[in-house]
């Protein structure tokens, strides 16, 4: 079997691209070295946010927000998506000035999704909060989703649209022969016209197989989750001056994450979560909500993720094979929200169709 497109990696980006390509009638094959949604796409904090995006990602993120709202129409399930406000709190005047400057930069470019929110309005929305409030940014109608369910939703939709999946297939060798890519895994051979690298934390290793040298560090973001609590928090909270992502899921658990990393054991295909390394995060969470000090943490976990030096993903043609090898990895722990639109945009570009979303600044050529 010879495929039009062969995608490596069945995370949310690989699955979304596969779905959008298959929907266009292309012959698509996805190779996954473990199982679909096994790594970061399936185990992240589930944030669906436009707030605080790198300017280069904003067009893609805005398009994705539209698709998250219509996910059920697109792939048949809503992935547990809940539209709630995302708030970034400034704890002092300096931080507020930063927030105002960010919002101004966006509005100068014509983007209106981020708005300044006053301290008084914040207090009204967050009556239980205890930290000093100078104000902040609100992005209305961001939200969160269930990462595993969403990613599997794209996987299943891609299959229904005709994409072929092979799990436990680790790509070992890629070679261009007579205008076709010959892809070797540990026990099978595949052929395709165009290869798309959606290998996440393994993206740079894969790029190296075809001679593209791209900078990528593997990180293991950690999350802790508490016992179920009575509902007290609707928006997703972050801080301007400190690292925190804090939200309450529908089942009542609190998901607390952001910035504190576990140990990376890439050779063993895992990260190691460690509670003592989360002490600072717990401290921050308790600064905000002292009333949860006796709440139990029941689980921690981490996943392996690729991080580029400038904090933005690599989406664009290969440096050495620009015509038939495409990169889409290194989402730096904020790729989940971008998944739906990334698939659409990359599929349009690769099929030579109209694309209104500018992703040119995310290309591999910047490194």
């Amino acid at each position: 079997m010879q495929y039009d497109f062969l995608i490596i990696g069945a995370g949310i980006h690989g699955n979304s691209i596969a779905f959008h390509l298959a929907k266009k009638g292309k012959r698509v094959c996805v190779l996954e070295k473990d199982s679909p949604s096994r790594h970061s796409s399936g185990v992240n904090a589930g944030g669906v946010r436009r707030l605080g995006r790198d300017l280069r990602e904003v067009p893609l993120s805005l398009r994705s927000a539209e698709l998250w709202y219509d996910l059920k129409k697109l792939i048949g399930i809503d992935g547990g998506f809940e539209a709630v406000d995302q708030i970034r709190i400034a704890e002092n005047e300096n931080e507020l000035a930063d927030c105002e400057s960010n919002v101004r930069t966006l509005s100068d470019l014509g983007y209106t999704h981020e708005e300044i929110i006053s301290a008084a309005e914040l207090k009204k929305r967050l009556p239980d909060i205890n930290c000093t409030l100078a104000g902040g940014i609100i992005c209305k109608g961001d939200g969160f989703a269930l990462p595993y369910q969403s990613t599997i939703g794209f996987f299943e939709a891609a299959q229904r649209a005709g994409a072929t999946y092979h799990s436990n297939q680790e790509v070992r060798h890629l070679e261009k022969k007579d205008g076709l890519w010959h892809i070797k895994t540990q026990n099978h051979d595949f052929k395709a016209s165009i290869v798309i690298n959606c290998a996440g934390a393994w993206g740079a290793d894969l790029a190296a197989l075809i001679g593209d040298s791209l900078p990528l560090e593997t990180i293991a973001p950690q999350i802790m989750v508490t016992q179920r609590l009575p509902y007290f928090l609707t928006p997703v909270l972050g801080l301007s001056g400190r690292v925190l992502s804090f939200k309450q899921m529908r089942n009542g658990t609190l998901i607390i994450g952001g910035g504190y990393r576990g140990k990376v054991r890439q050779a063993e295909n895992r990260g190691i979560a460690s509670l003592p390394t989360l002490a600072g995060l717990a401290d921050t969470a308790l600064d905000l909500f002292p009333h949860i000090k006796n709440v139990n943490i029941v689980r921690t976990w981490c996943g392996l993720e690729g991080k580029t030096p400038d904090g933005a993903p690599i989406i664009g043609p290969s440096l050495s094979h620009p015509d038939d090898f495409y990169h889409c990895f290194g989402f730096c722990a904020h790729g989940f929200q971008l998944g739906p639109a990334c698939g659409e945009v990359v599929a349009n570009i690769l099929c030579g169709e109209e694309n209104r979303i500018d992703i040119s600044q995310l290309s591999a050529s910047r490194f």
Binding site: S35, S37, R38, G42, Y148, I152, S167, M224, T226, Q227, R242, V243, G259, Y260, R261, R270, A273, S274, L275, P276, T277, L278, A279, G280, A282, D283, A285, L286, I292, K293, N294, V295, N296, I297, V298, R299, T300, W301
Partner: protein
């Protein structure tokens, strides 16, 4: 440089024996335990119970009070015993994190001995989540710790030496035992026969077993063997138990049902440490892979006693003593040339304990591992049913870790302790494979729930990676 220390986790038979042997070799030991007093499950609350009236002591039996010497030996200048601890994380380098009275702390051992013993195997039968149904081991804990026994009509169901012992103890304590529903079959007896001869080298244990059986008869407890299946029912709490035998079903009204299908190694810590494990086909459980001295796949970590494979209280003491001797050599406190000589008599006694295990394991072959009824809750924390698990298997669920993502099974506060084995049995059966091929839950910290304030109390600047 800090003083060389060995951290021993668990002050049961194994942990105490290990700590005492290390101390005798002039090694500083930190013994960390959950209970207020040393003793573990087997010698639980022994120090207090020594002062109880003679009839209560008689009920607990003379074997129970044999633990007194071990507990006394813990009073040694080299041993620091931390009671009432909750251990919530252990790092590969031997750092143990725990909380005492809500205060988090850590200690790094040059070696760590995991002596966390056994757990009662979960018995997911229909109605097992009803109020009034509990583990036979749990009932024994209540008796040893608080002198509490169930009131009303009691039925014991399942199999294993502990079930018989608890039946005897409760009957002696005046409980109304309505029936002992034993899943052991005639075929199990026949299958166990070939292993009886090697077991004869441990006559005292066999004799004890026989004595309990005779005593059950004398006490007038209806002992029904060959019970194929049980189910409990009741409106808000347990009201009755129905058992099936020889194609017929019988129903008994009762107030308490005590379930038991043997004990299995408690592998929460060894899994969290990502040690190598192996599947025991006859006992249908995992245990960490260890060498003859209890050293695991991480050379800093030893696993001793029932936690490394069910061996009983005496066997646990012997295996833990061997671990302590090996650590003494590694820490330069015992000449290597003396190791085999010192170990030989202990290894001989351990062999006698091991010799009887195949007989016990075959005779009390665990049953009721997979409920037929699809509505039975398997993961009690997240209320995942047999049906949920089978449905996941049907759509290609690759193992217990993916099952977490599909169903949330194993993601509650108990960290999969009470559903792990059942989940794997059900998945393996549905996919026509074996548990060892599917593997087990990845266990991550916290091993037991821990308050946010306890985590925050560990905050120091150098741990931030913001």
């Amino acid at each position: 440089m800090s003083k060389q220390t060995v951290v021993v986790i668990g002050a049961g038979a194994a942990g105490m024996a290990c700590a005492c042997t290390l101390a005798q070799h002039d090694i500083c030991v930190t013994l960390i335990d959950e209970q207020p007093q040393a003793g573990g499950q087997i010698y639980r609350n022994l120090t207090e119970n020594q002062h109880m009236p003679a009839d209560f002591k008689d009920l607990l039996g003379s074997d129970y009070f044999k633990g007194a010497d071990l507990i006394k030996d813990l009073d040694h200048p080299q041993i620091t015993h931390h009671a009432r601890c909750v251990i919530w994380q252990i790092d590969e380098d031997g750092t143990v994190y725990f909380s005492v009275d809500g205060k988090a702390q850590s200690i790094k051992g040059d070696y760590v001995v995991v002596a966390t013993g056994a757990l009662e195997r979960p018995t997911p039968v229909k109605g097992w989540t009803l109020a009034g149904v509990m583990g036979a081991g749990a009932a024994q804990v209540a008796m040893k710790r608080d002198g509490i026994v169930p009131s009303g009509d009691v039925v014991l169901a399942g199999c294993g030496p502990l079930l018989l012992l608890v039946a005897q103890q409760l009957a002696k304590a005046g409980c109304q035992i309505k029936a002992l529903l034993d899943s052991t079959t005639t075929k199990d007896h026949v299958n166990a026969l070939p292993s009886l001869l090697p077991a004869l080298s441990n006559m005292s244990l066999l004799k004890k077993g026989m004595e309990i059986k005779v005593s059950l008869k004398k006490l007038g407890i209806p002992h029904i063997t060959g019970v194929e299946k049980i189910e409990m029912s009741g409106d808000t709490a347990l009201e009755q138990i129905t058992y099936h035998k020889d194609g017929k079903s019988h129903t008994l009204a009762c107030d308490t049902v005590l379930l038991h299908q043997g004990v299995v190694p408690n592998i929460q810590i060894s899994r969290q440490l990502n040690l190598d494990h192996q599947w025991d086909e006859s006992l249908r459980c995992w245990h960490p892979t260890t060498d003859d001295w209890g050293q695991s796949s991480n050379q800093n970590i030893f696993v001793a006693g029932d936690g490394a494979g069910i061996i009983g209280a005496l066997g646990s003491q012997y295996s833990a003593t061997l671990s302590a001797l090996k650590i003494s050599v590694l820490m330069g406190k015992l000449p290597e040339s003396d190791l085999l000589k010192q170990a030989a008599p202990i290894r001989k006694k351990l062999k006698a304990e091991q010799a009887v295990r195949p007989f016990i394991n075959t005779l009390f072959k665990p049953k009721w591992l997979r409920p037929d009824d699809e509505d039975v809750v398997v993961c009690r924390c997240e209320e995942t049913t047999v049906k949920d698990i089978k449905r996941s298997a049907d759509i290609g669920c690759s193992g217990p870790n993916q099952l977490k993502s599909f169903t949330r099974a194993g993601m509650g506060p108990c960290q999969g302790r009470y559903c792990g084995l059942s989940v794997v049995e059900i998945l393996a059966h549905a996919q026509k494979t074996t548990p060892d091929k599917l593997g087990y839950y990845r266990i991550r910290p916290p091993l037991k729930p821990l308050r946010l304030s306890e985590v925050a109390s560990l905050n120091t600047l150098d741990q931030k990676d913001a």
